[in-house]
């Protein structure tokens, strides 16, 4: 048992995590592609036309999963950052930095698809309502994290400063999630609720879940591939990196 635990702790060192991440990311990328194919097939072929919104509602299959990911990735990024702050492990800060660009990308996708959905349905690309504004703040938190980290030369200090920002910003995630309950907003309520049965047809729910799985696998693959770059950049003067170059 003890051997099993120490075996896993081994991967907390960047030197051992670098080859592991290299082996793992193609599998997550492949799984993401498979889920995306099934998810798109449900989104466009299986899911019926909506009675009110016609074919325009199909944006839901990319908008809702992207919005979920923008919030999930932030929480995971903040968890890694907090772990790095508490335990002073090098890899934690690297993982937080590796997740931030992908999280920011999904936030942009969420805002972009939201605007393209809002225009035909509400008649406006953008409104300053609670849901949209708090999601925009999420984008600024990601960008602030990235800017702060790149402004500090010493990576360990950059990790610490970024971690504080990431942890303070966590308060925004429940605000986004519950904004449609707490305030009167133009945005519709939660599509999927944990407490009551889903308020939509099962095929639509499956389409959204599969697209969310595809994005989830994609995000793991992208962050593993990016953390390999960060490991090499930060450890470039260590002996193992020099030996690893054939």
């Amino acid at each position: 048992m003890k051997d099993g635990i120490t075996h896993w702790f081994k991967y907390a060192s960047p030197q051992n995590f670098y080859p592991l991440a290299g082996k793992l990311w193609p599998w997550f990328a492949a799984a993401g592609a498979v889920f995306a194919v099934i998810g798109l097939w449900i989104s466009f072929i299986v899911a019926p036309t909506d009675a009110q919104q016609g074919e325009g509602y199909r944006i839901i299959f990319v908008h809702v999963p992207a919005s979920w990911m923008s919030m999930f990735i932030y929480l995971i990024m903040a968890a890694w950052a907090g772990l790095g702050l508490a335990l002073n492990t090098r890899l934690s800060g690297m993982m937080a930095s590796a997740l931030a660009p992908t999280g920011a990308l999904f936030t942009v996708i969420s805002l972009w698809t939201g605007a393209l959905w809002g225009k035909p349905m509400w008649g406006a690309w953008w409104v300053w309502d609670a849901r949209l504004t708090s999601e925009l703040i999420l984008l600024f938190l990601y960008l602030g994290f990235l800017a702060l980290q790149s402004a500090i030369d010493d990576p360990r200090r950059a990790d610490k400063a970024g971690a504080v920002l990431a942890l303070v910003g966590v308060v925004n995630v429940p605000i986004i999630y519950f904004s449609v309950k707490w305030w009167n907003t133009l945005h519709q309520g939660a599509s999927v609720s944990l407490t009551k049965s889903p308020s939509m047809a099962h095929t639509m729910l499956w389409g959204m879940l599969l697209m969310a799985l595809a994005f989830w696998m994609y995000s793991i693959a992208a962050s593993l591939a990016r953390v390999r770059c960060i490991i090499l950049e930060r450890e470039c003067h260590s002996e193992w990196v020099k030996n690893a170059l054939e």
Partner: protein, 59 residues
């Protein structure tokens, strides 16, 4: 199957710009990011190899 033809599918019931604008930009973004990551990885590897070659040249 509720699409009668390919053009019917592409028209998206009049919402083509909004639907394809959403899915298209998302697909583009998720194809671009891995390419940028691969470039970043290749760049750092090239720099490291060059540094090593320079060191070996001195030694």
């Amino acid at each position: 199957m509720h699409w009668n033809s390919l053009s019917d599918f592409l028209a998206m019931g009049g919402y083509a710009f909004y639907v394809w604008g959403s899915f298209g930009v998302t697909a583009l973004a998720l194809l671009m990011e891995p390419l940028l990551i691969r470039k970043r990885h290749n760049d750092i590897l090239r720099t490291l190899r060059r540094e090593r070659a320079a060191e070996e040249g001195i030694a």
